[in-house]
Symmetry: C2
Subunit: 355 residues, 2 copies
């Protein structure tokens, strides 16, 4: 059976001040009426119904997730007691799913990406599941054809084709420097790593056992306590003892039998305020506006407020203005990366009320 | 006796969103702890004690004025039922003062300028009063030595000296275009008109009777009702019937016997957000900050918030950011003049809650 495992533990500091420690990007409706996590679940449609969706998030976010995803069954949202990157998260999900469905096929995906159209995504999932069914030890990923030499994504280098738009993977590549990204783009045989993987739970568990035996042992102990009164205590103790590491590093870079499907859907990682202009579109002046706004000589700006608080911009070009009740950001679009530094500075100053 | 007449009816739209219809510039503490009107009264010190200070403002602002100026006697704050420029305001003050003190000397001044040091200002007032005493028909003004070819001020052209730093006035000049302002600056015989005048109440009344007989008649009718139950009704009816006109146009440009004293005090009309940087000073990056702020790569900005709402700026140069509870302004400093247009646009859109 096909199960979705949605990784929803990200902190999304790049969307400060809209994103906060207890309301990260995946809980925000950045691109429309539904939040990112809601869109992620909606997108699965009939391909993976709600009763087979499993969400792993941070413990403190579980109540908000439950509120946003009332259609999920009880126990479908797991809160990690601490952050340990993607490999332990995925491994634990594999253990827990295996106990319920020993033959489970997992579709692992981030909770905060934009993907369209839904129908294309769903048939891509079916295609990947069929590839796993045809060879149960296979790992399938989705590769996004790069449109510019991005330095902020991992890349997948493809080898020979094994079907129409499906290739064996030659190698996973970490985020490259600009010159290397340029080469990847030119070569035409590299994809952006979408972070979406399809495999049998048994396959990823075997890989973890082989490559990450310590992590595997901790996860096994946690899974053994599933449904027992001591579960929370065991989870907290064992999970904290794991060394955090990404699934790419822990497994993918060492795995054999990995296939990549070239995605036919449109994908966006919604990595920064820039993405909002891409995804929501711009008006005649190049602006993307949400909330009450009045502008004069304003161009190429992303401006966000609510329906009550008025933001007025005069002579503003290439800026991001985000008003929230207790904090306002005004940033040059080219300086957007510094938002992460701001969040660090707020921590250092002890201004935790704004985090 | 020396009386102060403070004109405090201005709407100060250039300080939106801090200034609002019911909280214009003169009621704001833009340059320090005390509001502009409070500073204006404070500045008079012993030269003109509170019991001889008269404030003319808009009727709707009277309660706020009373709150900010508790030291003034009852009846010292007059609220105009409608806006009619400076001549009717000054003329009415002259009528009312004359009834209490037939030999009154008036020092007429705006309520929203910055002047320092106080002691120099006070001795300038004494010097002007002495000039009026020596020739009771004389009108005395203060001229500010121009530092740049300002187009936003009226100018006073001086004639021959009649004492150290005191000159007869050759002519009043309206706000000049750039090229003319340049000539005025070069000539060295032009001052900015500070809007501060000293004269006998009887002198200005005689001038109004001569040059503005209709206005004079209306004002006379209002003054005759002073202290009577029908005063408010008469004031409203007669004042509304007056054609509004400035004191410069109504009297000064036609007056003889006008002297100008070159001001030795430092004067600033606090005409826009720019002035805040001038008056409050700038930090090492050229920024003038009030309220909670965190900046990275931020230079030559005026940033204002309160102690609760955090404003973060990234890569921002030469901008004005003003946060208030219901509205935020983000403006290029060079586009500051457009703030007036914004206020008009808010009116047109019916967004009166922000005015």
């Amino acid at each position: 059976m096909l199960h979705a495992v949605i990784m929803a533990g990200g902190s999304g500091t790049r969307f400060w001040p809209e994103s906060r420690a207890d309301r990260p990007k995946q809980l925000l409706a950045l691109t429309g009426g539904r939040t990112m996590i809601q869109q992620t679940v909606d997108r699965l449609g009939a391909a993976i119904p709600a009763e087979r969706v499993f969400v792993v998030t941070a413990a403190r976010l579980v109540p908000a997730m439950r509120e946003q995803l009332p259609q999920l069954p009880a126990g479908a949202i797991l809160g990690e007691p601490c952050k340990r990157d993607t490999a332990p998260c995925i491994g634990l999900a594999a253990f827990l799913l295996s106990r319920r469905d020993p033959d489970a096929t997992m579709v692992v995906m981030p909770s905060d990406h934009a993907i369209e159209p839904t129908a294309v995504f769903q048939s891509a999932i079916q295609q990947a599941a069929a590839l796993v069914d045809s060879d149960p030890k296979r790992i399938v990923t989705f590769g996004i054809r790069p449109t510019y030499p991005a330095e902020s994504f991992g890349y997948i280098e493809r080898a020979e084709a094994i079907g129409p738009g499906v290739y064996n993977v030659a190698r996973f590549r970490e985020k490259p420097p600009a010159a290397v990204a340029e080469q990847y783009l030119k070569a035409g045989t590299f994809y952006w790593n979408s972070g979406i993987f399809i495999w049998k739970a048994a396959t990823i568990l075997a890989a973890l056992k082989q490559h990450q035996p310590e992590m595997f042992a901790h996860l096994q102990t946690i899974a053994a306590a599933d449904g027992k009164p001591e579960f929370t205590a065991v989870f907290e103790r064992e999970f904290a003892a794991i060394r955090g590491v990404s699934i790419d590093y822990a497994v993918m870079e060492k795995a054999e039998k990995v296939a990549v499907i070239e995605a036919l859907f449109v994908w966006d990682d919604v990595g920064s305020w820039h993405a909002i202009a891409r995804l929501r579109g711009v008006d005649a002046d190049g602006n993307t506006i949400a909330g009450k706004h009045l502008g004069l000589h304003t161009a190429n700006c992303v401006i966000r407020s609510d329906d009550e608080h008025l933001v007025v911009t005069l002579g503003l070009k290439d800026c991001i203005v985000v008003h929230t009740p207790d904090a306002t950001l005004v940033a040059d679009r080219r300086d957007e990366e510094s938002i992460r530094r701001v969040v660090k500075m707020l921590e250092e100053r002890g201004w935790s009320q704004y985090l």
